[in-house]
């Protein structure tokens, strides 16, 4: 089964990325986590993302394009990265979610991936 695990982080932790005193610990934890996933052979793909201040959100309403700086929703925690993993079941996906650094200070959402639509046009 394929699951996407989405990591959300509070601004305090996005800030750590560029703080010389805190960056090594922050990235060290992520590297260890990603290394463990790679070693277990569960990663299909995934990436870390630049912080929410770099986001641009687009909507088209009544034929008008609306573009705004910032993420789609103004929440305390914002998307910081994601992985798509291949594991036996939801429980195994939750195990990986719980081990991620952001589980301890942000939150991790786990979603089953829809299988590809068959036959092209749906």
């Amino acid at each position: 089964m394929q699951y996407m695990i989405l990591f959300t982080e509070p601004q305090t932790h996005f800030d750590m990325r560029n703080n010389p005193a805190e960056a090594p610990g922050y990235w060290g934890a992520w590297n260890a986590y990603i290394g463990a996933m790679a070693q277990a052979g569960v990663i299909l793909n995934g990436d870390g993302l630049h912080g929410p201040h770099t986001a641009v959100t687009v909507r088209v309403r009544d034929g008008l394009r609306q573009v705004q700086d910032g993420p789609y929703a103004d929440t305390k925690e914002q998307l910081g990265g994601y992985f798509v993993i291949e594991v036996a079941d939801l429980d195994a996906a939750l195990e990986w979610a719980a081990r991620s650094p952001s589980a301890a200070y942000g939150s991790v959402e786990v979603r089953p991936v829809l299988p590809p639509m068959s036959g092209g046009a749906a």
């Binding site: 610990g25 934890a29 590297n31 260890a32 463990a36 070693q39 277990a40």
Partner: protein
């Protein structure tokens, strides 16, 4: 008055839930219906007791009410089937009302929860829900499963007990031994030893330690002559005794070898030693007795100031030959390394099937430790990184990240 009545209902729920449910379900053989009837009885108590006063024997009141609810449901069922009224049940109900106490049937409940027809993953949750009244959400959190999935698992298990007519009984000696092992494993799973993961113990469920202690105490009390029931309870008490020494005042993790024995709870150790001594009189190997004996060796450090590695090696060898669980095999490797045989330790680790250890955190901690003792610093660091990546507890992560991931 109202407050008193509410308090009385809550107290009855806390103290007697498992006994009441066991008594009801052993007779109705329907766990779900008994649970529903019992919760209706508690709801009735919340309505009636504040007005009419708390009855002299609250449990008997709850039991009678729940049985009436149950028999009502049953009567509907029987009328549909065209059967005779339930004279037997009415008789029993009168008897229960007259009896000063009702029998403790929780052992039968524990045994049915660990029935071979119940999927292993449902056994511990079923015990926690039926004997202790825990809700599915709380159980799901501890087991890291979605609450909806846990709820379904519990419903399925209860339906199976009813539909397959699984019998609530205490078994004969032979069947008893097998089933007891399953009962005890399920209780051990509830207790979990997540906090001891660094020593290579089975990494388990967090957050239900108290419930595990309760179930182990209950089982040992109900089966005082079963060595393994005493062995498990002893094992859990040893672990509990060390709980205050596991973290420093800042919440940082302290491994067993560096814990201050003065912080270990003496009374619990004494109780555990007594249980283990009694259990060992049987002279028969038991997994939990052996694991308790390992803990006993560790706590001797509080008296002698040293850890007897040779004794640990002997006990782990025994476990490896008689009950080779992954946790025991990993710990054995670390203990060999500590006893001056890191090459043997590495061989033991290399012999474990890769697919079983890939995500088993204690394995990677032990591997890093053994590799470091062999002077293979680069490989040790790589193993330690994987261990950190597999660690959920931030305090333990921080401890490992400091490069102090020794298994002592």
């Amino acid at each position: 008055m109202t407050q008193d009545a509410r308090g009385a209902v809550e107290a009855a729920a806390r103290i007697s839930y498992g006994r009441l449910l066991a008594y009801l379900s052993v007779r109705s053989r329907d766990l779900s219906a008994s649970e529903d009837a019992l919760s209706e009885a508690f709801a009735a108590a919340l309505r009636v007791w504040p007005v009419a006063g708390v009855p002299d024997r609250p449990e008997a009141w709850l039991l009678t009410t729940a049985r009436r609810v149950l028999s009502h449901g049953e009567r509907h069922h029987r009328i549909r089937q065209g059967a005779a009224p339930m004279i037997e049940l009415a008789y029993e109900e009168a008897h229960a009302r007259a009896a000063p106490d009702f029998p403790d049937e929780r052992l039968k409940l524990l045994f049915v929860c660990a029935h071979p027809d119940i999927e292993p993953a449902a056994r511990t949750p079923l015990m926690l829900q039926t004997v202790l009244g825990l809700d599915a959400g709380r159980i799901a959190g501890a087991f890291l499963t979605s609450p909806a999935a846990m709820g379904q698992r519990l419903v399925r298990a209860k339906a199976r007990i009813r539909d397959k007519g699984l019998i609530f009984e205490v078994l004969g000696p032979e069947a008893m031994a097998d089933r007891l092992a399953d009962v005890l494993s399920a209780i051990y799973a509830a207790y979990g030893t997540g906090w001891d993961a660094i020593a290579g113990a089975e990494d388990g469920v967090r957050g239900l330690a108290e419930e595990g202690v309760f179930l182990a105490r209950l089982t040992a009390a109900l089966l005082p002559n079963e060595p393994e029931a005493n062995g498990l309870f002893a094992l859990i008490l040893y672990c509990e005794a060390r709980r205050p020494a596991r973290r420093d005042s800042n919440g940082a993790f302290i491994p067993l070898g560096r814990q201050n024995p003065k912080l270990w709870v003496r009374d619990l150790i004494i109780e555990a030693e007594g249980l283990l001594t009694r259990a060992s009189r049987s002279g028969v190997f038991g997994r939990f007795q052996t694991e308790a004996a390992i803990q006993s060796v560790h706590v001797q450090r509080g008296v002698t100031g040293v850890t007897l590695t040779a004794a640990l090696i002997q006990l782990y060898d025994l476990l490896a030959s008689r009950h080779p669980g992954l946790g025991a095999l990993v710990s054995r490797a670390a203990v060999y390394a500590d006893g001056g045989k890191p090459a043997s330790g590495l061989t033991f680790l290399d012999d474990l099937p890769p697919e079983r250890v890939a995500t088993y955190q204690p394995y990677w901690v032990a591997r890093a430790h053994v590799l470091r003792l062999l002077g293979l610093a680069v490989d040790a660091k790589a193993a330690l990184d994987i261990a950190i990546g597999l660690t959920e507890d931030p305090a333990l992560q921080a401890f490992l990240a400091k490069g102090q991931g020794k298994t002592d």
